[in-house]
């Protein structure tokens, strides 16, 4: 079954349309990569899925239920977690304080810390450090740790690789693969396809606000070069 499904989703910022009828499915327990060039509508698609942006048309189904108009905090409380582009951490708080902010979801601080430090041991070493002074990779780990503290069933990741060195990106995607192996369904948005395709079960190519192609990473290799280099999508 699909944990997330978008059917004919259209979205706009003011009067400027950015999504033109997106159809996308994230089956339970799978990693789906949403790829595409800059400005294709990837982040907007994630924001619509997370309830942060209302679609102008179409339907969003989460866990088999139509959730158009649902407040994002309601979805988050039930297990849909978005880790936004730019990480979404509190840069002036320490790592531990950032994790403490996740206790609003009901889990105690010790539980949140256990979950975070078991997956990201490096954060334990840095727990008293101000988050803004962490390296980019560590900040991204903290953002993921904060997301995973809510015990999500569906994780939406936006541009995990942004501003990071390739070796750090590989390390992060290894962690994503571990999270997926633990049974969390993941929709990951990426501009740089090569690494994410290594962990994805399915991938969709988004071009000019439309899904140009959906398939396995292997099937999409040709489509990707066309999408990124400006060829016409099939």
């Amino acid at each position: 079954m699909n944990l997330l499904e978008l059917r004919g989703v259209r979205a706009a910022y003011d009067r400027i349309d950015v999504l033109f009828g997106i159809d996308l499915e994230v089956p339970a327990g799978r990693v789906v990569a949403l790829l595409g060039p800059n400005g294709a509508g990837k982040t907007t698609t994630l924001r619509v899925a997370a309830g942060l942006h209302q679609p102008t048309a179409g339907d969003v189904f989460v866990g088999g239920r139509r959730v158009n108009g649902t407040a994002p905090e309601e979805l988050a409380r039930r297990g849909l977690c978005l880790i936004p582009e730019g990480r979404g951490i509190f840069p002036n708080l320490t790592v531990r304080e950032n994790l403490r902010m996740m206790t609003y979801s009901g889990a105690g601080l010790s539980t949140v810390e256990d979950r975070a430090y078991s997956r990201f041991p490096r954060l334990k070493e840095r727990r008293k450090q101000i988050a803004g002074t962490l390296s980019g990779g560590e900040q991204q780990m903290l953002a993921m740790a904060r997301g995973l503290a809510t015990d999500p069933a569906l994780l939406l990741l936006d541009e995990l690789s942004m501003g990071l060195a390739p070796i750090i990106v590989e390390e992060l995607y290894e962690l994503v693969a571990q999270i997926a192996r633990a049974g969390v369904s993941i929709l990951v948005v990426e501009q740089f396809a090569s690494t994410v395709l290594g962990v994805a079960d399915l991938a969709a190519v988004l071009v000019h606000g439309r899904v140009a192609r959906v398939g396995t990473p292997h099937e999409l290799q040709d489509e990707l070069s066309k999408a990124y280099l400006g060829g016409e999508p099939r």
Partner: protein
């Protein structure tokens, strides 16, 4: 990749239990818009009442017009209150969350100090 049926079922159950609301019909937005509308209507009614009272020499008509103007002022004040309620509730929600966080952190600091040998 693997599927954890228990978590998936729990997630589906939680989503099914959720009350889906249309944000367009959200109370805060309604209060903001309704309050603004009431303020405008109130001001118009007050001005109309005032003008009516000036355009008649009949004391009874003047009294009626003054009452209408006062009702307009009351509607404006009520609209202002409703508008403020709608506009500030989001801010106060965030402020409350911050206060709760600070209070928890303060309590933990006190406990840490108290636990020291």
């Amino acid at each position: 990749m693997m599927e954890h049926p228990e978590r998936v079922e729990q997630f589906k159950h939680d989503i099914a239990e959720m009350q889906v609301k249309d944000p367009a019909a959200g109370r805060d937005r309604l209060a903001t818009r309704g309050g603004a509308a009431l303020m405008i209507i109130g001001v118009i009614v007050a001005i109309v009442g005032c003008l009516q009272s000036h355009n008649t020499s009949n004391p009874l008509s003047q009294t009626d017009a003054v009452i209408i103007a006062l009702i307009g002022v009351a509607v404006t004040v009520a609209g202002g209150a409703v508008f403020l309620k709608g506009a500030l509730s989001n801010f106060f929600r965030f402020w409350l969350a911050r206060l709760i966080y600070e209070q928890k952190a303060q309590t933990d600091r006190i406990i840490d100090v108290a636990d020291r040998p």
